[in-house]
């Protein structure tokens, strides 16, 4: 499968993972997961952190891996679950809740799309012994769907809806993911951005400046929109 087609380092990780288990995972390593994970995004963060509701279940019940995801899933009339494809959503939007979130959830792995800023890794991930895994593509929803073995439970479904509620899922050989930030807070995206940035100036060479500027616009193309 994927791991055979690449020279990138590959690791398989059993969940729940302790900070100790995450040592040695370098940025750019391909990771597959076995064990329990749960989804949580802005709806859950608002309720758990801002409204002070805390966690709806114990770490033993839902695990310590937070997937920034809403699955393409439905609940059948008999109460059973129909989960098809699962894909991450962009993580940078969730910065503001993370500090408190780590404290109340005890999460050691965050899985999402696109990573977060280097400051967030240094200030929030590193002190909590946590790493960030990014999904690949993005949009390997069908491959990830194959790794889903069982929907264990949902929490806060009534108030948050199917897309925002917590889905607790047992997974096997769930991936691929890439280590975007390691325990030291190094970032794969930052490393790649720096390489790409070296080329950007030359692309604009010889192009006339714009006739009209827009308020708040920047000409610094090394900046990021996140």
């Amino acid at each position: 499968m994927v791991s055979n087609a690449t020279k990138l380092k590959t690791a398989r990780l059993k969940l729940p993972a302790s900070t100790e288990d995450l040592r040695g995972l370098e940025i750019g390593t391909v990771v597959y997961l076995d064990g329990r994970i749960f989804t949580a995004r802005e709806g859950v963060y608002k309720k758990a952190v801002e409204e002070g509701a805390g966690m709806p279940a114990s770490e033993a019940d839902i695990g310590n891996v937070n997937f920034h995801c809403s699955p393409a899933a439905m609940i059948r009339d008999d109460g059973s679950y129909n989960m098809g494809s699962v894909t991450a959503t962009a993580s940078f939007r969730f910065n503001k809740w993370l500090e408190d979130w780590f404290k109340i959830s005890g999460c050691k792995i965050i899985i999402g799309k696109g990573g977060m800023s280097p400051e967030v890794y240094k200030e929030k991930f590193v002190p909590n012994g946590a790493i960030y895994l990014t999904t690949v593509g993005y949009g390997t929803g069908a491959l990830l769907g194959r790794g889903v073995k069982r929907v264990v439970d949902t929490h806060w479904r009534g108030e948050l809806g199917l897309a925002q509620c917590i889905w607790v899922i047992d997974v096997e050989n769930f991936g691929p993911f890439l280590v975007e930030s390691d325990l030291e807070g190094n970032s794969l995206f930052e490393r790649e951005n720096a390489k790409v940035a070296a080329n950007i100036g030359g692309l604009y060479e010889g192009l006339k400046p714009a006739i009209m500027k827009r308020y708040g616009e920047t000409d610094d193309r090394e900046e990021e929109v996140i």
Binding site: M74, G84, G139, T140, F189, V196
Partner: protein, 321 residues
């Protein structure tokens, strides 16, 4: 008379096809980029995506868990008659959207912008969007659904005639680089560019160029076709590949559609149809039969006409026989 039941069941099939089956033209274009990708991480990402398309088809599962915001493009033949009329057609498309959300399943992405109300069926206020177009001398209806991601990769700017081609290139690069970092645009993408029109039509044309033209198609205006090729090449020399990693796989194809605009301006929009470029189309005839395909053939000589009157020629009628 086209039976409404045929339109609704075709629409349901289209919803599933779009979500699950990557169109061949996009797949071929992506493989072409993969063959020359030297960035190790970018190549790994594309390889994983290629395996993902296979998994989606085998498992009849949506290729991406973010199944986008499903919408409809309807082309109505001038002689077509719909059982129950256009109101029945809109009801059928809304029903198909809701039932496919439950059956495929799709992610119920559509919510109210302020109250975040979610009907869990991708139907709501002004959703799904339905756009219409018409075609001369035809008695069929063509339904196309597009499931495009909704957050990153599109932008609009009012340029001026003095900005010229340089201005177009500058804004194009700005958009690709801004949304290409970290792969927010989920590239390699089909990039659609809208040039001219009113502001809203500029956005519409660019989006249609990205979502409704197939990889390899060219604009019939040779000057625009040349610019399409140049912008594609330019996007792939930014140095950015899949997920914003070092590489050369950014643009699977670039499509430009133009519309006449205010004499003082040159509005431009850029849209990126992602690694899950989901579109499916079917022509439904009065006998209730549906012929499925992945090329919507949305832009035609008729839709691109510049004159007051439309003078059909045997050649441009044949084009859409």
């Amino acid at each position: 008379m086209i039976p409404i039941s045929a339109l609704q069941s075709t629409a349901e099939d289209l919803m599933a096809k779009a979500a699950i089956e990557i169109p061949d033209d996009y797949l071929d274009g992506l493989r072409g980029l993969a063959n020359i990708e030297s960035g190790e991480l970018s190549a790994f990402v594309i390889q994983a995506m290629l395996e993902n398309y296979e998994a989606a088809k085998e498992d009849r599962s949506a290729m991406c868990g973010d199944t986008g915001v499903p919408r409809w493009y309807v082309k109505i033949g001038n002689e077509a008659r719909i059982e129950g009329g256009p109101i029945a057609l809109e009801a059928a498309l809304r029903r198909a959207t809701a039932s496919a959300t439950k059956d495929v399943p799709l992610r119920p992405n559509r919510v109210h912008p302020l109250w975040r109300t979610d009907h869990d069926n991708n139907v709501g206020l002004n959703a799904p969007e339905i756009e219409y177009s018409f075609h001369p001398d035809a008695d069929w209806i063509e339904l196309t659904t597009v499931h495009k991601g909704g957050l990153f990769g599109s932008d609009y700017r009012m340029l001026f005639p003095g900005d010229g081609i340089d201005g177009i290139k500058r804004f194009y690069l700005d958009t690709l680089i801004a949304f290409g970092k970290r792969g927010l645009a989920c590239q390699p993408a089909i990039v659609g560019v809208g040039l001219g029109g009113s502001k809203d039509i500029c956005m519409t044309l660019g989006k249609q160029a990205a979502c409704l033209r197939t990889v390899g198609s060219v604009n019939p205006d040779p000057g625009i076709a040349e610019l399409e090729a140049e912008l594609k090449e330019m996007g792939n020399t930014i140095g950015m590949g899949a997920m914003g990693f070092m590489g050369s796989s950014m643009v699977v194809d670039c499509h430009i559609e133009a519309g006449y605009c205010h004499t003082g301006g040159m509005p431009m929009s850029v849209h990126m149809f992602c690694l899950s470029s989901r579109r499916a189309c079917a022509q439904v005839t009065p006998d209730g039969k549906a012929a499925f395909r992945t090329d919507p053939e949305w832009f035609t000589d008729y839709s691109r006409r510049e004159t007051v009157e439309w003078f059909p020629t045997p050649q441009n009628l044949k084009q859409h026989a």
